[in-house]
């Protein structure tokens, strides 16, 4: 803009500030920052010493299956028959239709599609079982299962799902009532044994080779269980308990996520099937507003209206009389 327009432009107290022509005084910035650093260090050492930090052991498939093998068997059949949370997740894990969230006609999730392919029946159940060696009954069961028609497989799976809902633990063994579930009894029985021995944990990570750093599949499997959800609830960490921003114990957690987590607690979000995308969109909008405060008339006048600045600069305004 040219000089004349600058001069013509009216002074706006919410946007403009004039260069200071008043007095100044000595001020040691470097000393200030150094002292601040030392103060923070003392505070942090103190709190670290007093309260430490939470470090509850991670839950492995072995921990889970050992603590509750019935839940493990029930979750596993839901992975095999395609009814588990992961199997019905849709993008980015698989092509299951109908569970993607959308805002009106917009569903970014399904537009981007499958990017981290996860096929629970294959990756969690059939794949690991196929690595079992020297167990003819398991190999035979797998052969029978793989040779069967999809409708036969489904019938066995459904029957097993019913039977396993009445399962019990006897002397540490999984006991599933008899039923017409063909080879599935042997398969899930073997998978449960693998899980309890820890072999399944490594079979899942080994899918990526010797150096595993990607636990996506194991975590999805564990997160499908009732056991894992119960652990979260016991630590007061479920979604309706503000879980996302908290951590185990009485630690402050990610308190700065309070606004994001807040929306999940109140209608319409608390009952919405599209809560995640709705809350994300709302937070995106609010974030944009925060970023653009200096340009938004009204919003940028709030400081002047609330007069908090009178308190902040009280020495200055007092000296102005």
């Amino acid at each position: 803009m040219s000089e004349t327009t600058i001069l013509q432009r009216r002074f706006n107290p919410d946007r403009d500030a004039r260069p200071w022509q008043g007095g100044s005084r000595p001020y040691d910035l470097i000393k200030e920052v150094t002292i601040c650093f030392l103060v923070v260090t003392v505070l942090v050492v103190g709190l670290a010493f007093l309260f430490g930090s939470p470090d509850d052991k991670a839950i492995s498939i072995q921990t889970w299956a050992t603590a509750n093998q019935i839940d493990f068997a029930q979750t596993s059949i839901s992975e095999l028959n395609g009814t588990s949370g992961t199997a019905t997740y849709g993008p980015p894990y698989n092509n299951f239709v109908g569970s993607s969230q959308s805002l009106g006609p917009i569903s970014l999730e399904s537009w981007i599609g499958v990017h981290i392919p996860v096929n629970p029946a294959q990756d969690f159940v059939l794949g690991p079982l196929s690595t079992v060696a020297n167990a003819p009954n398991v190999t035979r069961a797998l052969d029978v299962f793989n040779a069967a028609t999809p409708s036969q497989q489904l019938a066995w799976e459904t029957n097993y799902a019913t039977a396993v809902s009445h399962a019990s633990s006897v002397n540490g063994h999984l006991v599933v009532p008899r039923g017409a579930y063909g080879p599935i009894g042997v398969m899930i029985g073997q998978l449960t044994a693998m899980a309890k021995s820890g072999a399944l944990d490594s079979a899942m990570v080994d899918q990526s080779g010797f150096y595993g750093t990607n636990y996506t599949k194991s975590l999805l499997y564990i997160a499908d269980s009732t056991y894992f959800a119960a652990q979260g609830t016991a630590h007061h960490l479920s979604g309706d308990q503000w879980g996302m921003m908290n951590e185990t114990g009485n630690f402050p957690g990610q308190a700065w996520l309070w606004l994001y987590t807040f929306w999940y607690q109140v209608p319409p979000f608390s009952t919405s099937a599209n809560a995640d995308i709705q809350v994300s969109a709302l937070m995106g909008l609010l974030s944009l507003l925060l970023l653009l405060v200096p340009f938004i008339p009204g919003l940028r006048s709030i400081p002047r209206w609330t007069r908090v600045y009178r308190f902040i600069w009280k020495d200055y305004y007092r000296s102005q009389g």
């Binding site: 403009d16 100044s24 980015p92 999730e109 999805l220």
Partner: protein, 230 residues
């Protein structure tokens, strides 16, 4: 043996220096931040409020976050599960993060109620907000990189929110290796760079003057408005 260069050569060099990239950038930087602006030893007299300390406290918090994080990185992930010194450094890392955010948020609201974006300081405000968002990302990826129950829980809870936006295809909270890289390389680099930029902008503009309302005119000369290039 040196001979004095003749005048045409000198003129040519002069012209070349005026066009030189290196020289231009140096002049630009020195003009924007001459030493007494970069590290002033005096401040305007209206700078007297406890709220000003929170920017410096945030720097202190960030410095300690980086320092303790560096120690954790030197020992490698999982050290803190098996060593009591490791756990202590981990605790320091956690608490310095909590303080960093606490100070930053007070700083943010302080600057809001001071309308500290006035007089061409919009970019200072905006780099601050962007730093805040990147810090949230850095904090989040740290929580999921702990390799304990909390990281499992937070990752599996948060994945739905991230997936719903479509970003989950690229930002996979369940992929430990990826999260660790975000947490110890990409996001800290961004936060530190943005913070540096933010502070240089503050030094370039100087601390904003008190809000002017009728009757409390600041001693001044001319108007510094949005369109003013200074």
């Amino acid at each position: 043996m040196s001979t004095t260069k003749d005048q045409t050569v000198l003129d040519q060099e002069e012209a070349e220096l005026a066009r030189q990239w290196t020289g231009r950038i140096r002049r630009l930087l020195v003009d924007a931040l001459p030493p007494d602006k970069l590290l002033p030893d005096r401040q305007p007299s209206y700078l007297s409020s406890w709220i000003y300390i929170f920017g410096a406290l945030t720097i202190g918090g960030l410095a300690l976050v980086i320092l303790t994080g560096t120690v954790l990185a030197l020992e490698g992930p999982q050290w803190w599960h098996v060593s009591s010194i490791g756990l202590f450094v981990n605790s320091m890392h956690l608490w310095s993060v909590e303080f960093f955010f606490f100070f930053m948020v007070i700083h943010l609201w302080g600057k809001f109620f001071m309308a500290a974006w006035r007089g061409n300081r919009q970019l200072t405000w905006m780099t601050g907000v962007v730093t805040f968002f990147f810090s949230i990302g850095a904090g989040f990826t740290g929580y999921v990189s702990q390799t304990n129950f909390d990281s499992q829980w937070i990752a599996t809870q948060a994945k739905d929110g991230i997936n719903a936006t479509g970003a989950g295809a690229f930002v996979n909270a369940l992929n430990f290796g990826q999260m660790l890289m975000w947490h110890i390389v990409l996001l800290p680099a961004a936060v530190v760079a943005l913070t540096g930029l933010h502070i240089l902008m503050v030094r370039h503009k100087g601390i904003v003057t008190p809000i002017e309302v009728n009757g409390t005119e600041v001693p001044h000369q001319g108007t510094q408005s949005e369109s003013d290039p200074s």
